[in-house]
């Protein structure tokens, strides 16, 4: 049991990294990865929402949608859950930890449109994870997202002084670097057999 959970955690965060293998969460990956500080902030907030979303949508899917034969409503239900979860997390952090809110504040609403979160819930249903597995999967995916975002931000900070060809500035070079990162992450592929 524990071993399986660890495999899911490593698979979700490194070998099948959400950003670099499934292309989920590319928008913030390209948009927000300018500074390491904001990358860490966004990564942490996203990890939190992902773990919560995995837990809540698991309960809704397996305890409400499946027993009442409402599976066709899953996309609508999931997106509402995620949107309200983000809203709730935002209010909660603002009330209890104003300092943290000031750091994360602007990133929080962005998380709703982060496809990594809806993607996470869909993969969770597709792979028929149990409840603890779903939570670990959410956590791993969040860690993987943070990792990719921070590495990217680090590279882009260095890149400011590089001599980049005019047409590739901005998006172009970011995508090329992401490609190289994806290549590098392929090297981890052998860690888990049968994935």
């Amino acid at each position: 049991m524990i071993q399986e959970l660890i495999i899911i955690l490593i698979a979700a965060s490194i070998t099948n990294n959400f950003v670099l293998t499934y292309f989920l969460g590319i928008c913030p990956f390209i948009g927000v990865s300018n500074k390491i500080d904001s990358a860490v902030g966004l990564g942490m907030a996203t990890t939190f929402v992902m773990t919560m979303a995995a837990a809540v949508t698991w309960i809704i899917y397996h305890r409400i949608l499946v027993p009442f034969n409402l599976v066709f409503l899953q996309y609508v239900a999931f997106i509402i859950v995620i949107a309200s979860l983000v809203q709730f997390v935002e209010m909660f952090i603002r009330k209890t930890a104003p300092a943290l809110y000031r750091t994360l504040g602007i990133f929080l609403p962005l998380i709703t449109t982060n496809c990594a979160i809806l993607g996470l819930t869909l993969f969770m249903v597709l792979r028929k994870y149990s409840f603890p597995e779903a939570i670990v999967f959410g956590l791993g995916a969040g860690i993987g997202f943070t990792l990719a975002l921070v590495i990217m931000a680090g590279i882009r900070e260095e890149l400011r002084f590089a001599d980049i060809p005019e047409p590739l500035k901005g998006t172009g070079i970011t995508l090329l670097i992401a490609g190289m990162l994806a290549l590098a992450f392929m090297g981890f592929g052998g860690i888990i057999s049968g994935q």
């Binding site: 292309f23 590319i26 997106i79 949107a83 047409p167 172009g172 490609g179 994806a182 392929m186």
Partner: protein, 197 residues
């Protein structure tokens, strides 16, 4: 009127200029056919949701508009998903969770928020159609490049010579990023040339 339509094709192309909707763009374009299917599904969703949002724009309160838009979009995505499953099961299986992920495609919410919620039905329809077609074109180009170099075929037909060594990297995630990065560069170059003329 035609301006609304043409804008999405080049000047505000959702993929190359606005860099929106990256996740389906990169994920499904291992083959040109998948790119085309994803493009058409997205076009369907963006056109229908823009029309509906434009119709209801006056009775939606400002504060709850984003959740409202999202629910409208999610509904049409469900329709598209079930249509694909019923008629093109193979394609639906290959695209997997990326069809439901159209819900969070920023192109669609972007059009709803930036255009359909402020303009009349006809203009919203044309604008959404232009964006959808521009998105589809970008996906087909990306898919075609990756399919030709990664497998030597285009839409399943062999186009490269015998003994052509497939570039496996093109089918892998890394190839998607690199191809799109270079395409964005090429697009910017072409755009600059055209402006100078």
């Amino acid at each position: 009127m035609t301006k609304d339509f043409i804008r999405g094709l080049w000047k505000e192309n959702p993929v190359f200029v606005q860099v929106l909707g990256m996740c389906p763009t990169l994920a499904v374009t291992t083959k040109a056919l998948f790119g085309l299917s994803m493009g058409l599904a997205t076009t369907f969703v963006v056109v229908s949701s823009s029309v509906v949002i434009s119709v209801i724009r006056k009775c939606v309160p400002e504060q709850v508009r984003i959740p409202m838009f999202t629910v409208v979009i999610a509904t049409f995505v469900t329709v598209a998903d079930y249509m694909l499953k019923a008629n093109f099961f193979e394609i639906s299986k290959a695209l997997g969770p990326y069809i439901p992920l159209i819900v969070v495609n920023c192109v669609i919410l972007g059009r709803a928020e930036a255009f359909a919620s402020k303009h009349n039905v006809m203009r919203s329809f044309l604008d959404a159609l232009g964006m959808g077609v521009g998105f589809t074109c970008a996906l087909v180009v990306l898919g075609a490049v990756r399919e030709i170099l990664g497998g030597g075929t285009l839409f399943g037909y062999r186009v490269m010579w015998e003994g052509f060594t497939s570039w496996i990297i093109m089918i892998l995630p890394a190839g998607a990023f690199i191809t799109l990065g270079l395409l964005v560069g090429a697009f910017n170059m072409a755009d600059k040339r055209m402006k100078e003329k």
